[in-house]
């Protein structure tokens, strides 16, 4: 049997390979070879995704490859791991929580928000991506409708930051403060600004956003 290190390398290869359908059969064959699903998730899947993230950070791969990889990883998660965890009723959870995410009103940038959305998905969150230019009321109503744990707000423009503030104010003003947390992020956003508007967390990168969402879930 291959070492976990080798399997991580193999997974990176299939994630970046030419055949998009190969991932699921590859993952199934690894599990059939005796690797427990939980171990696969923790020791192969997660480090492999981290390597993909590192490759993009060095621009050894470009955005299209990153997106392909995330989609393929999601296929492993949904088609292979989730059914096993459910059947085993092992308590191992694939869904870590429900997150509604969007770029706030007045801002049409989606690349950063999409990266966060992808990273959250591959890390086991159910993500409802409302897209770009989303008015505060729509975002809040959606979070309420799907009983979200977290509302993630992105802004790349300083002129859209006021809508983040408004989301927090209206959530609190309409008495929904205890229903879901709000995490904010985007190029002009800082920890100071986050504190100033009363948001619950700030992610300065896609990786940190995922970490902060895990932390928010623990607090709940």
């Amino acid at each position: 049997m291959s070492t976990y290190e080798e399997l991580v390398g193999d997974m990176v290869d299939v994630l970046l390979g030419d055949d998009p359908d190969e991932v699921v059969t590859w993952a199934e064959s690894v599990l059939e070879g005796g690797v427990a699903a939980v171990d696969f998730f923790n020791k192969v899947f997660t480090p492999a995704m981290a390597q993909i993230g590192d490759k993009f950070a060095a621009l050894d791969i470009f955005l299209p490859e990153l997106i392909d990889s995330a989609e393929r990883a999601q296929a492993i998660s949904k088609d292979v791991l989730e059914p096993i965890f459910e059947a085993e009723d092992s308590g191992a959870q694939i869904s870590r929580g429900t997150i509604v995410i969007c770029t706030v009103q007045g801002d049409l940038h989606d690349i950063g928000k999409n990266m966060v959305s992808l990273m959250l998905q591959v890390n086991g969150f159910d993500v409802i991506d409302m897209g770009i230019n989303v008015p505060p009321r729509l975002a809040l109503d959606k979070a309420k409708e799907v009983d979200a744990d977290i509302l993630g707000l992105s802004a790349l423009m300083t002129t859209s930051q006021p809508y983040m503030k408004e989301c927090v104010e209206l959530r609190d003003g309409f008495g929904m403060k205890d229903q879901f947390a709000i995490i904010v992020g985007g190029a002009p956003i800082t920890a100071e600004y986050t504190a100033q508007i009363g948001a619950d967390a700030f992610g300065k990168s896609a990786v940190e956003a995922v970490e902060k969402c895990f932390a928010l879930m623990e607090e709940r």
Partner: protein, 462 residues
């Protein structure tokens, strides 16, 4: 304009005012507040009286409206917040409101001034198809049917159905183009009659703020034109309307803000409409920092403002404001009847007489056939209003009441028959821009009748 420095404060309050759900605003705030004010001040509709002569009642309506304005404020739909003001702030807003405004350019300039009931000072007259949808090729002929009448000081525009044959899609570049097309056609028509400086009511084609902003710019509508901003019924504004008010303030444009309460809706019946007119106009003065304030209440089923209840309420609301403020007020008539009907001419004469003796500064006409039936408007519809304004100078409210009551009796039973009449192309010759002999004949008959009732439309001075 002296009160415009308030604008930034208005915008700030829209971001920071009390949070409330939109439905709760109307149902749990507007409705009970108006109801309580009507009771508290003992305001009661009297169906024998179309035009009120009771100054005390007018002053009570003013107090009631003022209380409502202070207690309710305006709701901003985009921020889910109320824009609220204290009693003192509203009083200061009224104390320093514009009491005189000049529109238009050069020799086509017109000045409107605040008036009081039965005041003999001149009333401005605006004629136009007021947003009635028309095809592009009919735009200029229809506009000319108003522009060629010397009785009008200003003209308002119809709405284009298309732009260069394409549908006008709100909130897009098509809206921008639609507004620019409207401006080019309106300026063309004004030039054709030698009145290029006349104030043009604009921008009709502005379902969002885009049309109003793009149309009022270099080469388009001018600061001297007569720019509009609406209020959503009841007592609501949003980022679109506030953006329009901001733009017009920055280009130094003359602004008309309007508020149209709905009879039988959240404000209640005739008494509630009268109070709502006062409250609404006080609030839009505070918020839009406009120059002129218009109202055109609406009957929810007839789409008109010429029912007995609404004529009473509109006249009374105007009296309340005219007696107690310097606001420059005006009303828009929305008859149920359309071009080619006697009904409409009676309605327009009655409404105009009632609101003019009540103290409005300008009469705006006409939302013929309720204002929404394509092509159902024509120059004569508004001309009757202009003639009524001239003839009513010097009339008391009591005299006006008698005439209005007689006129209402002539058309009242027609309102529910939806007498929308004929489209413009059937009542006007499209080449000569002259009314057909039938339409002119009807007009002349009604004019004679009205003169017979005691309105001297045939006198040479006014």
């Amino acid at each position: 304009m002296n009160h415009r420095p308030r604008l930034v404060e208005v915008l700030y309050r829209a971001e920071t005012g009390p949070i409330i759900e939109e439905a709760a605003f109307e149902r749990t705030l507007v409705t009970p507040t108006i109801r309580a004010a009507v009771e508290h001040y003992g305001i009661k509709f009297d169906e024998e009286t179309a035009v009120n002569s009771d100054d005390d009642l007018a002053d009570r309506v003013f107090q009631a409206g003022f209380d409502v304005a202070r207690d309710v404020g305006l709701f901003c739909q985009d921020t889910s917040r109320r824009i609220v003001w204290t009693q003192k702030e509203l009083e200061a807003g009224l104390r320093y409101c514009p009491s005189e405004v000049t529109f238009g350019l050069g020799v086509d300039t017109v000045t409107l001034r605040t008036r009081t009931p039965e005041d003999t000072n001149r009333v401005g007259i605006v004629g136009g198809a007021y947003g009635v949808p028309v095809p592009e090729e009919m735009y200029v002929p229809l506009a000319l049917s108003y522009l060629k009448e010397p009785i009008f000081d200003s003209v308002d525009n119809p709405s284009l159905e298309t732009v260069y044959g394409h549908p006008i899609k709100a909130g897009t570049a098509w809206e921008v183009l639609g507004a620019r097309r409207e401006a080019e056609l309106a300026l063309l028509a004004a030039g054709m009659v030698g009145r290029s400086g006349i104030p043009l009511g604009c921008v009709e084609m502005s379902p969002t703020q885009l049309g109003a902003l793009a149309g009022a710019s270099w080469g388009g509508y001018r600061p001297s034109d007569w720019h509009h901003v609406s209020t959503l019924s009841e007592f609501k504004v949003n980022h679109d309307t506030l953006s329009i008010a901001t733009h017009i303030a920055r280009i130094g444009g003359a602004l008309e803000a309007y508020y149209n309460p709905i009879y039988g809706g959240y404000v209640g019946g005739a008494e509630g409409v009268a109070v709502a007119i006062v409250a609404g106009l006080i609030l839009i003065n505070q918020t839009y920092v406009a120059q002129v304030y218009n109202t055109r209440p609406n009957h929810p089923f007839y789409n008109c403002d010429t029912t007995r209840e609404l004529i009473w309420a509109t006249g009374l609301g105007i009296q309340a404001l005219a007696r107690n403020t310097n606001l420059i007020t005006e009303t828009l008539v929305g008859p149920a009847g359309g071009p080619g009907t006697k009904t409409m001419l009676y309605e327009n004469a009655a409404f105009t007489l009632a609101t003019t003796v009540s103290g409005q500064s300008a009469m705006t006409a006409s939302h013929s056939a309720g204002g929404a039936v394509p092509r159902h408007a024509s120059g004569l519809d508004a001309k009757i209003c202009g003639e009524t304004v001239h003839a009513s100078s010097g009339k008391t409210r009591g005299e006006a009441n008698e005439i209005v009551n007689r006129l209402i009796a002539l058309y009242e039973s027609d309102l529910e028959t939806n007498p929308k009449g004929q489209p413009f192309e059937e009542v006007y010759d499209q080449d000569t821009i002259e009314p057909t002999p039938e339409w002119q004949g009807l007009y002349d008959e009604v004019r004679e009748e009205v003169i017979g009732m005691g309105l001297p439309m045939d006198r040479m001075v006014w």
